[in-house]
Assembly symmetry: D2
Homo-oligomer: 336 residues x 4
């Protein structure tokens, strides 16, 4: 009765999802894997002692009668192709972010899914599955703080590697806020602006760090997100929602409180994996449960598209320094 | 390959463990149930849509070839009998607290298990599986606060029912601290004392509430535990370890911080089930994984015995108002 | 040996400063008062049992040989005139904010003081005298968080009266941040922008509330200040300084922590007077001590001018929605 | 109109009080000083540029017509003699703790004051003047937490010097709790017990550190106070009041919150002088204001006596390990 999964892409995140689906989650098994590097795919099968076949490529895997649902964890530019193929095959597909590397690509997936007539796609945005964000949304939705008017957010990493560039602050980092804040507010972005504070001396020369992204939603809520990926002190995700009658703040991770060396302190996490590890489990379990129940849910292809459109506007705003409109077409009724 | 479990006792906790083992945990299935009320047992099978047989009594269930491991969640006074029967049958057994209602009963189980020659028994103390206590133990064991000298603890419930009496403050409430603090400190109790503060007006007339239990360990660490089961404001578990160079405090559950109505606040839980629900999952998964790996671990029969001996001393100390010695025999090498 | 003070203006703040100087502070006495309403001035003398003369107007008071130093606490539009008169008389003068109602007026005072050749003017910005801001500045100046890159601030009031309008969010409310943040950073503003979030339903129709003011400094530090004067829940001043290696946050006022009614809470102040009352005492004592030592210090006429120039730019930015440059002339060497 | 003070004893605390009364407080001047070391007394007069006469001894100072009120800050064993002399002279006297080195000595002072017929004595217990304790008392008295049932307290110092011995944990350290908790609860102690945890390796060999003192009050409230004077990490005063419906905790000193080096932290004070410095100012100002108004208030000779009686019982309990009764005579009506 386990869901038979095929996984396309056995790099770091793919391998981690394979481990998750075969060892941690309920009612799933990985029966098929592939990768552009077939040796690596075979190695993962061996390492994790999977009873799984290695396929020649993603299309062969998708077509296999053994495979009931597909995980796409390959290189970003290949996502669109495999998701479209899964839709064509009528198979549920979980696609790691980004859904596609262009908004147009996301749109293609949306159109294919709508044409198919039933939801098949879940996008790998895990923050809506985080207990903290869920608790925050519950407070907002309860009306305890009135209508949300402003959000003050921060996304901070201790350091980033050499390959990280100014645009990736949007497409790799802010993208999580672009997704989760839409979900939190049940609202869409209408404009964005990016301002660059004085650059930290800790960033490499090619990277403008930190950045502040200012977003406006359709209902007029104003959001500021500090993106600071060389903050040194920790991996720190902040989100404060200012409502008409009160303010709700994303919980800090629970930690032992120490009194030591003239300080009252709590540890701050240094690694993003420690922060959201539980959310990854919940997210994929939700996909598996959804497929088994015949109801794919969670972040949709439309959500992936909306995030991509907003990200494109942010990239433009980085360049122009101006306020940039975010033009999202009307949401198809299909997406509720 | 799932572990086939038989469950003796389908009351509240039994039913919850059955749900857990059949719907939430990995690699387990409930194949057999029984209860002193057989109709209730049958009802649970029906409600949870189990593919399980209802046995006439616990002994029949234990003897069944279908049953690979046993969960004892029946009425406390019957625990000893069923655990001994499981040991006699050579089957791993998870027994909800108390292991037995007398220290003598616990001792009988210890002796039977030692005679058997291999660990079969895990006692249902779940706090060592709580992330907070594990984080606290990690800090202690890291040496960051030096050797522990004192512990200040509290176990508070909003209210208790009519049936709750003064002794149950030890056997039902403090028993969790008696277990987890031994584990936290890797130390044994040598004396106990109970003092009764002014009684709260919120307690029923037959109940002395709150109580303060003072414990001394073999290494000389001093522990005070406030037990206050009509504290009104919440279910609140506190544990502060004062070491030679610093203090570590059990994390508060992670909560949304609110600014509202002239207050900066975090919610306090009202229900104990919300506080330790995750620990129950981890505890039983550990039993299942342990049995499958041929290595039962976790709180042992000896731990159940040691807690019972300490509890007996506390009950005596409630009556006498004196400092009472805790006499635990030497730990058999069997228990490491 | 007490400093003999003359006070011009016996409204709420004037009366409070008279009480402070005659009953709370060291080495000062109020010997002269006046007000546009002379009866009110006489009443204050009677109420506070002062040994003080009521003068016909501010100029007569300034000229009086009895008066060694002047406090200007009259209606804002009259400040410039009285401060200039005090400078002309060579008398030290403490002027409540605003120093003058126009930047031009402030400039006139700066020029008169520079021409006089010695500092005589202290402006009534009290936040630099607040212990919390002083502690925050000490952390910044210690280098513990590296160079400041961003400041996230909030200035929130529970409610405001009918007379409060959109511009006053700058001139009456933000003005405190305009002063204290320059002092905190030892930096000047170079541009401002104002964005208007969705309006709270709790504000009167003529008032745009909340507002977010975005400031850029000469060194490139970016500041966002949320001004929200109908936030309902409390009087709440927040200031978080994000540096290259860490973040420092203005202390919350010290409060009893309560566990009660399923909440762990600390009170939030509702009245701004409770928040900064000690700072008012320290500020005026500093003026008195400064005058007695022949060294007027604290916020200078130049600081008053700089705040006025920035406020003017903010008002323009409220109207235009654009980024507005802040053009401050070079600081005279006179002001250090 | 300033109160003319004579100060007996110009050691550290005496010198500090002289500075306070001559430079910081309102309406006081130091006109007379003496010390067993007259050169030191003269030096203090010179250092602080006092217009004060050096007297040959405490009795001469007390008798001087110049002196309106007396501060006793000499060596503890001399307190009783000087306080009695001040009462005999009918002069108000502020006596640093201890009021006398024996309960009998305190009793003598009580009897002399009652015989005099009017309060003249204020004892130098400063904690009731601390804002934090005042806020805590306000919460208790408001009924927000119901009747107090238990107090959990701690008095921790980073280290102590060689001269500090086991008894001083009571007479020099716990004495502050013995005073302030009586005031906080408006209740008296009826029994005490002392338990000795495992000794810290950081204490010198002659000192038993830490200690836990258990107190019971007339109304049945139970208090535990951890006294730990080599805790290394800071000077840390904790007081948590558990009431029938909630818990109130003494505020932590207000501090900048830092995010830095994988830690979210607030500084803990290392020096007791930083913790209670403001309370010393308020305490002595209250004495000065009280004397000028003809109404000496604050901690009375009776309070000093009650603390001494409780301290004696604690010393006995240190030795015996038993629960020791605290026998306080009935409070004279004179003390309200």
């Amino acid at each position: 009765m386990s869901l038979k999964l095929g996984v396309i892409g056995t790099g770091a995140i793919g391998r981690d999802h394979i481990r998750r689906c075969s060892q941690t989650l309920l009612n799933s098994q990985v029966v098929a894997v592939t990768d552009i590097n077939l040796e690596q795919a075979a190695q993962v099968v061996a390492d994790l002692q999977l009873n799984a076949e290695v396929y020649a490529d993603g299309h062969a895997l998708i077509q296999s009668a053994q495979v009931e649902a597909v995980l796409v964890t390959s290189w970003g530019p290949s996502h669109e192709e495999f998701v479209l193929a899964a839709i064509a095959a009528g198979k549920p597909v979980f696609c790691e972010k980004p859904l596609a590397v262009t908004a147009r690509g996301c749109r293609n997936i949306v159109e294919a899914e709508v044409a198919h007539g039933k939801r098949l796609v879940q996008v790998g945005f895990m923050r809506p599955y985080d207990q903290g964000y869920q608790a925050l949304k519950a407070v907002i939705d309860s009306g305890q703080i009135g209508e949300p008017l402003m959000l003050h957010c921060a996304h901070r990493n201790p350091t980033v590697g050499e390959n990280y560039n100014t645009g990736m602050a949007i497409t790799d980092t802010l993208i999580h806020e672009l997704d989760v804040l839409r979900w939190l507010l049940a609202d869409d972005y209408v404009s964005v602006q990016v301002v660059f504070p004085r650059k930290t001396s800790k960033a490499l020369s090619h990277l403008r760090d930190p950045q502040i992204v200012l977003l406006e939603t359709a209902r007029g809520t104003r959001i500021d997100v500090e993106v600071f990926v060389n903050c040194q002190y920790g991996y720190d995700i902040q989100c404060e929602v200012v409502g008409e009658t009160g303010i709700a703040k994303l919980p800090e991770p629970s930690q032992v409180q120490l009194r030591s060396g003239a300080k009252l302190s709590n540890a701050i996490l240094m690694d993003w994996k420690d922060r959201f590890i539980a959310a990854y489990d919940v997210e994929l379990q939700a996909f598996i449960d959804g497929v088994r129940a015949g109801q794919v849910g969670g972040p949709s292809a439309w959500d992936g598209f909306a995030a991509a459109v907003a990200a494109d506007a942010c990239i433009e705003a980085q360049g122009s320094g101006q306020i940039v409109k975010v033009s999202l077409p009307d949401r198809p009724a299909f997406y509720g």
